[in-house]
């Protein structure tokens, strides 16, 4: 096995007015897994763009060395030549192409311009076996695969190119637990084959399970580097946020009361992907004033779909009875839900949380403009900006001004804009779906504090979360969904990760 060494020396990258990377160096050898962690906006992505050649040599200061040789004029083609492969969060797969074609696109086996389909099929079957998708035929179309399966597929596709260095950027975001296991097995296999691996992740558990070394970046600087065996979770968190953090979760007493604000009865939601199947079958639950009601369960248990169905996002095939403060309300559209005092921070903020091209303040007033702000037809810009400013300050949104386009913000700040959009509308009930997904630790803690404050103001929250510590620490009560039913309710000391998991796999 050939030993390779990759080095990045003293890399500094400037954007107008910002130092995105400040003298960062790293070294990586074949068969090693280096984890890189840091808050959103710490500079991880920029560093990887330098490594992948997306920024060419003259766009930054510093050098990249491979096997003891300095790479001159680094660019995307050079990076390929060295064998650097990036696996991005987004999967780019030809949905209507077959799996085998997707895997080997640009690399199809065969002589001349003819494709050797037999070999193609065999090699694909072998790869599918390795990534735990052995029961899927190489010739089937990609379209019906889950996003997790697609993610595994695109990783396998990078591997076909036999890279020397592979970079994984938050690869588990869309994966289920089983898929994560397959992914880890695959990464370990790559490691044994001598691939040097960079693994970027927010999830510290993954880093401890997988990596040999871990490097923390903050504000564009390399803060620390440890052998994974010689550090611990708290140290890493402290390094990431730059202050010591005893506990992320607020300890204020819960203002939960017995008063029922929302009753959902006989909720049935059809499965979005499989016809004739219901993802949730006849469930009922109550939400009390001032509580955070956690909805636990595995991905695909129908939690998001349930919230969407109550809110009027999905209507086809949905049956439900919704009572607010004991009165029956008929919610056919999101507008009905908003009028009934419900807000909904959805899971996919990029897809349906904010409008990319509108400035922050206009995103914040997206709902309140119709419902609350003065003027029947005309926009009162002063009132609008004043209202948005209050929220901008309260949520401490980090942006140059309120006129900054929402699309240019980091994930955490985008999420704050989404939350702000609902809060200015004074909801009585707030649905939050994976509220801190893809958000750095520091901002997470801010969110937890805000959610707790909201309940103290009398707002009642339903929270869907796959982040177990978040679910058990933030929820006053937890309902666990599995197989289309509520499998149990956990309160008090029973709110533990183990008990949630036991119900979730029923």
């Amino acid at each position: 096995m050939l030993q390779h060494t990759l080095e990045m020396r003293h890399v500094t990258k400037r954007f107008p007015g910002v130092l995105a990377l400040d003298d960062v160096s790293l070294e990586l050898k074949s068969g090693e897994i280096l984890a890189i962690c840091g808050e959103n906006g710490a500079g991880k992505s920029t560093l990887m763009k330098v490594l992948s050649g997306s920024y060419t040599s003259h766009e930054y200061e510093g050098e990249i060395w491979f096997d003891g040789e300095k790479i001159e004029h680094m660019n995307v083609a050079k990076a390929r030549e060295i064998g650097i492969e990036m696996v991005y969060q987004e999967t780019n797969v030809f949905l209507y192409g077959s799996i085998m074609e997707n895997l080997f696109v640009g690399n199809l086996p065969g002589k001349g311009s003819l494709v050797d389909f037999k070999e193609l099929k065999e090699r694909t079957a072998q790869i599918l076996e390795e990534i735990g998708l052995g029961d899927i035929s190489p010739t089937s179309v990609c379209r019906p695969l889950s996003s997790g399966q697609l993610q595994l597929l695109s990783i396998a596709r990078s591997r076909v190119k036999e890279p020397n260095v592979m970079v994984f950027d938050e690869p588990t975001t869309a994966l289920t637990d089983t898929e994560v296991e397959h992914l880890f097995a695959l990464i370990r296999k790559l490691q044994q084959e001598g691939v040097a691996i960079i693994y970027i992740s927010h999830k510290l558990e993954e880093i401890f399970e997988l990596a040999d070394r871990v490097m923390v970046i903050r504000d564009g600087k390399k803060v620390s580097e440890y052998k994974v065996s010689e550090t611990n979770r708290n140290t890493l968190i402290e390094d990431m946020i730059g202050r010591s953090m005893t506990d992320m979760y607020p300890h204020d007493p819960s203002p939960m009361t017995d008063e029922v604000v929302l009753s959902v009865r006989h909720l049935t939601v059809p499965n979005p992907t499989a016809t004739d199947l219901n993802i949730v079958e006849d469930i009922s639950f109550d939400l009390h004033k001032g509580e955070i009601l956690g909805l636990g369960g595995l991905i695909g248990a129908g939690r998001s779909e349930s919230l969407g169905a109550i809110y009027g996002q999905y209507t086809q095939g949905v049956t439900k009875e919704v009572y607010i403060n004991g009165e029956k309300v008929d919610i056919k559209t999101p507008d009905d839900a908003i009028k009934a005092g419900i807000g909904f921070v959805t899971e996919e903020r990029k897809r349906n949380g904010f409008v990319w091209l509108l400035p922050i303040y206009q995103n914040i007033s997206l709902i309140s403009l119709r419902t609350m702000l003065p003027g029947k037809y005309m926009i009162d810009f002063d009132a609008e900006k004043k209202q948005a400013k209050t929220m901008f300050d309260r949520l401490k949104i980090k942006a140059p001004t309120m006129n900054t386009l929402a699309g240019t913000l980091s994930g955490g700040n985008q999420q704050k804009v989404v939350l702000g959009k609902w809060l200015v509308n004074n909801p009585k009930i707030l649905f939050v779906d994976e509220p801190t997904k893809g958000i750095d630790v520091g901002t997470k803690a801010e969110f937890y504090k805000i959610l707790r404050e909201l309940t103290q103001q009398g707002i009642s929250i339903v929270m869907v979360s796959s982040d177990m510590p978040e679910l058990v620490n933030m929820s006053d009560r937890i309902l666990v969904l599995s197989s289309g039913k509520i499998q149990g309710e956990l309160t008090g000391e029973h709110r533990t990760q183990r008990e949630v998991m036991e119900l979730a796999i029923r």
Partner: protein, 323 residues
């Protein structure tokens, strides 16, 4: 350091939406000034603005449509239809005002049908409106036999031929009124803002309680009314209902909107930019005539400008997304 400053000037030029039309407009005006001072005669300038006005009647509401991420390739046929219908009604003895109203309603119904097919039944706007274009122009040809409808009464021509104070052609006045209304609606009203939200991210807009379906259908309807209105004024101005009046209009109007800085991908639009886009295209036509370049070559130049505008939009988005 110096280089950076230069860049930032170019960037501001590009990022400010309207400027992608204003800058080339100024350049052209300067070039022409050197080449042919006759270009600057008041009459010629009014001619240019009048031509631009005819585009602008449709292009202004088309700005709404593109902002809401829609498109309409049937406006040309609705224009022809509106003009022919107006001429037929007048010739048939219907008084002017009811004739105009009937034409506007008919245009609105066609636009509404477009909207219904596209929004309610979720068909691609490109195909649906292309189909409408063929249906309506086909119907107009069958109806007229391809011959223009003449014999308009003097009273019916006033709406296209009157000069205010003997100088300013009345079509320009319509354009100013339409421009002011559309500018206010898009930039200053809640309704206009909702179009930007719909075009920017339809799902977000829907979850924010905005009646997306209703809004989008209404915008198609407005565009239909505007196209028919253009046909009516056109027929009045040229004293006949010409079945091919709107033939070259589709692309030209879309081009005017996009050149004006409204993103073809939706989410942001500017009526002022569209006005300049219309004037720019009209000025180029006029300029080419002055240079003695045949009108047939105009399409070539419009096409090139449109492609350039798309690239500018793409570049603008890249800059904006980098922040």
């Amino acid at each position: 350091m110096k280089k950076e400053k230069k860049n930032s000037l170019l960037r501001t030029l590009i990022v400010r939406n309207e400027l992608s039309a204003i800058v080339p407009l100024i350049i052209i005006l300067i070039i022409v000034a050197i080449g042919n001072p006759n270009f600057y005669r008041l009459k010629n300038i009014l001619d240019i603005i009048r031509t631009a006005s005819f585009s602008f009647y449709i292009a202004a509401p088309l700005t709404f449509l593109l902002t809401a991420s829609g498109m309409d390739l049937s406006i040309g046929s609705i224009l022809s239809f509106g003009g022919v219908l107006y001429a037929k009604l007048i010739v048939g003895g219907v008084p002017v005002v009811p004739s105009i109203l009937i034409c506007l309603i008919a245009g609105g119904i066609i636009g509404f049908m477009n909207g219904l097919v596209i929004v309610k039944y979720n068909q691609p706007a490109f195909i649906a409106t292309l189909g409408t274009q063929y249906i309506i122009s086909g119907a107009v040809l069958v109806w007229t036999g391809g011959i223009s409808v003449s014999g308009l009464t003097a009273a019916s021509k006033v709406i296209g031929q009157y000069y205010i104070g003997g100088v300013v052609p009345i079509p320009i006045v319509y354009a100013i009124i339409i421009g002011i209304i559309c500018y206010i609606v898009l930039a200053k009203t809640k309704w206009g803002r909702s179009l930007a939200a719909i075009g920017g991210n339809q799902e977000t807009a829907y979850l924010a309680g905005i009646p997306v379906v209703r809004r989008r259908i209404l915008v198609y309807t407005i565009v239909g009314i505007a196209a028919s209105f253009t046909g009516v004024v056109w027929a009045a101005r040229f004293s006949n209902g010409l079945p091919g009046a709107g033939d070259a209009v589709n692309m030209k109007n879309m081009a005017a909107v996009i050149i004006g800085g409204t993103s073809p991908a939706g989410g942001s639009g500017t009526v002022i930019g569209t006005a300049f886009g219309c004037i720019l295209l009209a000025a180029i036509s006029n300029f080419l005539v002055f240079l003695g370049i045949p009108a047939t070559a105009q399409q070539l130049i419009f096409g090139a400008i449109l492609i350039a505008a798309i690239f500018i939009d793409r570049y603008r988005r890249q800059i904006l997304s980098k922040g």
